[in-house]
C-alpha cells in the first residue's frame, strides 16, 4: 500500500477520491498523535464527558424500567424517555469532535458514520415521523442502545482511569452479540414502518422545478439507507482486521480460558 501510494500519489492526485499520498500522510500524523495519548486536561475532560454520558443513559434505563412498572406494558415507552434519549444521543456528536481533534484515537470517518446514523434515526426518523413512535421496534433499538451505551461509556471511563473491571470489559465484547442484532433490527423495522408515512406526506422531499436545480426524495433515501445497512453491518461484523473484532475475539478467548480455569 505504502509503495502504491507513493507511486500514484502526486500525479494520480487527479483521480477521484484517490487514496494517494495525502491519505497516507494523514494516517501517519494520526498515528503519531495516537502514540502521545491525550494530555492531562484532555483526559480530565474525557472522564467527565464519559461519566456524564454513562449517567445520561442510566437515566434512560431507569426511565424505561419505571415507566414499564407504572404502565404494566411495554408499549409506547418511547414517550417516557423521549427527551433524555434525544439529548444524550445528540451529545454523542461530540465524539466525532474528539476524534477530529485527536484526543480520541479512532477514525473520524467511522465514528462520524456510527454517530450520525443514530442521530439520524433519533431525529430524522423517530422524531420526524410521529406515527412510528408507537411502534414496538422503537423500544427494541432504544433498549439495545441504552444497554450498549451504558456499557460503552463506563468502559471508556474506567479505561481512562486505568481501572477497567473485568465485568465491563467482558460485557462490552460479549453482550454485543445480542445487542447488535437487536439494535439493527429495531432500527430497520422502524425505518420500514416510517416508509408509508413519508411517502404520503412527502416529508423532507424537494421536487423539481426549483432554482437550485436539485431534487431529493426522502422515501428513496430511506430505502437506500436500509440497503446500506447490509454491507456496512456485515463488514463491521465480519472484517477480522478491525481492532474491535480483535479485542473482541481476545476477550472471548479470555472468557473461555477463565472458564476452563487454566492455572497460570
Amino acid at each position: 500500500m505504502a509503495a502504491s501510494s507513493s507511486t500514484s500519489s502526486s500525479r494520480r492526485a487527479d483521480n477521484g477520491l484517490g487514496g494517494g499520498g495525502g491519505q497516507q500522510q494523514q494516517q501517519q500524523t494520526a498515528g503519531s498523535r495516537r502514540r502521545k495519548g491525550p494530555g492531562a486536561l484532555a483526559t480530565a475532560y474525557l472522564v467527565l464527558y464519559n461519566v456524564v454520558m454513562t449517567a445520561g443513559w442510566l437515566v434512560i434505563a431507569v426511565g424505561l424500567v419505571r415507566a414499564y412498572i407504572a404502565k404494566g406494558s411495554y408499549h409506547n415507552l418511547y414517550y417516557s424517555i423521549e427527551k433524555p434519549l434525544k439529548f444524550f444521543q445528540t451529545g454523542a456528536l461530540l465524539e466525532i469532535l474528539h476524534c477530529a481533534i485527536g484526543i480520541v484515537p479512532s477514525s473520524v470517518v467511522l465514528t462520524a458514520f456510527q454517530v450520525m446514523s443514530r442521530v439520524f434515526l433519533t431525529w430524522a426518523v423517530t422524531h420526524s415521523v410521529k406515527e412510528v413512535q408507537t411502534e414496538d421496534s422503537v423500544l427494541l433499538f432504544v433498549v439495545a442502545w441504552t444497554v450498549t451505551e451504558i456499557i460503552r461509556y463506563s468502559f471508556y471511563t474506567f479505561s481512562l482511569l486505568n481501572h477497567l473491571p473485568y465485568l465491563i470489559k467482558w460485557a462490552r465484547y460479549t453482550l454485543f452479540i445480542v445487542l447488535y442484532p437487536m439494535g439493527v433490527s429495531g432500527e430497520l423495522l422502524t425505518i420500514y414502518a416510517a416508509l408509508p408515512f413519508v411517502r404520503q406526506s412527502g416529508l423532507y422531499s424537494i421536487s423539481l422545478p426549483n432554482k437550485y436545480n436539485f431534487s431529493f426524495d426522502y422515501y428513496t433515501f430511506l430505502i437506500l439507507t436500509m440497503i446500506s445497512y447490509i454491507p456496512s453491518k456485515y463488514i463491521t461484523l465480519l472484517n477480522p482486521s478491525t481492532l474491535e473484532i480483535q479485542v473482541y475475539l481476545k476477550a472471548i478467548y479470555n472468557v473461555c480460558k477463565s472458564l476452563c480455569k487454566i492455572p497460570t
Binding site: 502504491s4 507513493s6 492526485a13 483521480n15 477521484g16 423539481l208
Partner: protein
C-alpha cells in the same frame, strides 16, 4: 569485473523469493526487476516495488546497483503493488466516461426523463452552452493526457480505477441529470450571470492549460526529473509566485464557473468535493517540494495564495 549477488525477499513474510547470482555492478533497478520478472512471471516490472529496507522507500528504476548502499551480496525486499493498468485505459475510462454520460443526458436518450421527452432539446440556451463547456473540459483533459503531460509513471494500481470511475461517472451523471432536465430552471440573473460564469470558466481553462504546459516544459521528454516551477512569460503562470499547484486552483475555478453558469446545486457540491480533494493533494505536493528543494520559494502556499 566483480559480480554482485542479489537476494530478493518478500517484504512482508521475509520469505526468499529469488536469488540472482552474477548481476553486473552497473545493472539498474529496472534490470533487476526484469530478471525477477523472469523468475516470477506473475509480477511484471510495473507491479514491483523493490526496497532496501522493508519499510523504506521504493528504489527508483534508474538507480544503479553499485551506487546503492549494499555489499556485494545485496538483500532487496519486494512488495507487490497489485495489478497495474496502463494510462491509456485509465484516461479513456475516467475522462471519456463523463464526456459520454453527460451527452446521454443532453440528448435525453430514452428511459431517463420519460417517453415524451425522448430526444427533445432544451429551450434554454444555457443548457446548450453548458454541454459545450462540459464536453470541452473533458476533451481538453483527454488531449492533455495524450499530448501534454509527461507523467513519471507508466501505470497505476488497478483498484484505483474503480474508485475514480465511480467518482467521476457518478458525479457526471448526477449533474447532467439536473442540468438537462425538462424541468430545469435557468439562472436567476439571466444572461449576465451566464456571461460572467463563462468568462470565469474560460479564464480558468486557459490558466489550467498554461500551467500544464509550464509543468511539461520543466521535464525534458522521456525523463522523470522534478523541478521547481517558476512563472514564465505567460501571465497565467504568474500564480506560481504565490502557490505551488495553480493548476488545481484553476481547475476549481472552472468548476465554480460551471456551477454559477448552470445554477445547479450538484455542480456546486462537485466543486466542493474536488476542492477538498485537490487541497489535500496540493498540500502533499507542497510538502514534498519543501522537502526536496532547499531554496523553495517561501512565499508560496499550496492552493490558495496566503491562505491554504
Amino acid at each position: 569485473m566483480k559480480y554482485y549477488e542479489v537476494e530478493i525477499l518478500d517484504g512482508k513474510t521475509r520469505e526468499k523469493l529469488c536469488f540472482l547470482d552474477k548481476v553486473e555492478p552497473n545493472a539498474t533497478v529496472a534490470e533487476i526487476k526484469n530478471l525477477f520478472h523472469k523468475n516470477h512471471p506473475q509480477w511484471y516490472p510495473a507491479r514491483q516495488s523493490l526496497r532496501l529496507d522493508p519499510k523504506g522507500k521504493s528504489l527508483k528504476d534508474e538507480d544503479i546497483l553499485q551506487n546503492l548502499p549494499v555489499g556485494t551480496t545485496a538483500t532487496i525486499y519486494f512488495r507487490d503493488l497489485g495489478a497495474q493498468i496502463s494510462w491509456v485505459t485509465v484516461f479513456l475510462t475516467e475522462y471519456a466516461g463523463p464526456l459520454l454520460i453527460y451527452l446521454l443526458f443532453y440528448f435525453r436518450v430514452p428511459f431517463i426523463y420519460g417517453r415524451k421527452y425522448d430526444f427533445t432539446s432544451s429551450k434554454y440556451s444555457v443548457v446548450h452552452l453548458a454541454c459545450i463547456c462540459h464536453s470541452f473540459h473533458y476533451i481538453k483533459r483527454l488531449l492533455e493526457t495524450l499530448f501534454v503531460h509527461r507523467f513519471s509513471h507508466g501505470t497505476m494500481p488497478l483498484r484505483n480505477i474503480f474508485k475514480n470511475c465511480t467518482y467521476y461517472w457518478g458525479f457526471a451523471a448526477w449533474m447532467a441529470y439536473y442540468i438537462n432536465h425538462p424541468l430545469y430552471t435557468p439562472p436567476a440573473y439571466g444572461h449576465e450571470q451566464v456571461k460572467l460564469a463563462l468568462i470565469l470558466f474560460l479564464f480558468c481553462q486557459v490558466g489550467n492549460f498554461s500551467i500544464h504546459i509550464a509543468l511539461r516544459n520543466l521535464r525534458p521528454a522521456g525523463s522523470k526529473t522534478r523541478k521547481i516551477p517558476y512563472p514564465t512569460k505567460n501571465p497565467f503562470t504568474w500564480l506560481f509566485l504565490f502557490i505551488s499547484c495553480p493548476n488545481y486552483t484553476y481547475e476549481v475555478g472552472s468548476w465554480i464557473g460551471f456551477a454559477i453558469m448552470t445554477q445547479c446545486l450538484p455542480v456546486a457540491l462537485f466543486s466542493l468535493v474536488g476542492f477538498i480533494q485537490m487541497t489535500i493533494w496540493a498540500k502533499g505536493k507542497h510538502r514534498s517540494y519543501l522537502k526536496e528543494f532547499r531554496d523553495y520559494p517561501p512565499l508560496r502556499s499550496p492552493i490558495i495564495p496566503f491562505l491554504l
